[in-house]
Symmetry: none
Subunit: 225 residues, 2 copies
Amino acid sequence: MTTILVVEDERGLRQALAINLRRREYNVITAANGAAALAAAGEQPPDAVILDLGLPDMDGADIIRGLRGWTGAPILVLSARSGQTDKVLALDAGADDYVTKPFGMDELLARLRAALRRAPAAEDQPIVETAAFTIDLAGKRAHLADHAAVHLTPTEWHVLEVLLRNEGKLVPQRQLLQEVWGPAYDTETNYLRVYLAQLRRKLEPDPAQPRHLITEPGLGYRFSR
Amino acid sequence: MTTILVVEDERGLRQALAINLRRREYNVITAANGAAALAAAGEQPPDAVILDLGLPDMDGADIIRGLRGWTGAPILVLSARSGQTDKVLALDAGADDYVTKPFGMDELLARLRAALRRAPAAEDQPIVETAAFTIDLAGKRAHLADHAAVHLTPTEWHVLEVLLRNEGKLVPQRQLLQEVWGPAYDTETNYLRVYLAQLRRKLEPDPAQPRHLITEPGLGYRFSR
DNA sequence: CGTCCGCGTCAAGATGTCGTCAAGAGCCAG
DNA sequence: CTGGCTCTTGACGACATCTTGACGCGGACG
């Protein structure tokens, strides 16, 4: 899912933005000042940033440059100042768009879509390699160790993706069911048995003795490299 | 040198733009209406387009879509209309920025720099060649392996262009629909079936067994060389 | 030693998706 | 006005995927 970082010191506007974005199926992180913004961006790299320039703790252009050092994600600037020089400075510092307050929510969302359309889709899903197989989550490609291509169905990809994102950690049955099938299915453990078996049959050298897609009886499943 | 196409019916503004751009070492082509703009873009593909929406001969969104079918260059829209819906329509049709008149020249130039910075320099994927066909994205020409020319419609180009830009990677149905038809069409998977079939019929030696334009059932499509 | 529960396996029916075709609408050129 | 090209839209069969139920196995527990 697309992640948006909202940096805005005024509480009301920050929440209004977050609500509108979440309604459009974006994953939203918020920050109330420049320091928090840079910290948040480092922790969970966003696909785009909406940045208010009137922050109390840091100068706007410095935040933009700080973000630009970390990420190539597009930056949409919000500002109460409508002067040309303000806009030129922000844009030349690395911002992708500049919207003056007050602004319309529909327009902002449209500008966000335009910026995301241009962006090269952050590569937050690297390639995972094990002794037995190689998985490219972004490109949706799977190979065995001998380079034979493996075809996975949409649901198989989804299950595998959740497990790989939590590499080494145990994923409870309920979490897996909820993420893949939705909140209403959190008792249908049948599905997990069927799909884990399918993934093992396709990916594990010896499906009866899985080395990477491991069952933790009574608890859930774990992916181990 | 960077080439900018200026589309503006009012003579005074057109010349003012051209002069200011040339002073910044841009190569400028001008057009006074939509038809001339599309013709000029096909002849000498620009690196960016500055487009007035108040043209006499064509609707704004149609021009944007027309250009988008032939080029990936960023489009900056100029307009006297400041309503939100105007902006949303233009941006969703494929524009990269929307500036309301009257505007400051410095701001426009800064926005142009921002757009060009983001754009993937026009000639970074000039010609894509496969065993079956050759595609010249810049010149908008397509040949089969036996040198027979193939004619593609604007929409076909656009679909193909998105797929080629992501060579080897899977392009989700939703992304393809949003980039080609706009955010409102992200469930019309019919279109994809129709246009992929058409592209295969025109480009693949055996359309029933495609080797380069590949369907990943339930996920999307993939171009493979 | 026997029962019960969770897990892996399998198969069959239900569901959804894809490719294909064709008809109609809109648009431009002659 | 007419004809051609393109885009949209609906319908259909073929096929892959998902869902669902049944069965056997093994370990935990009484």
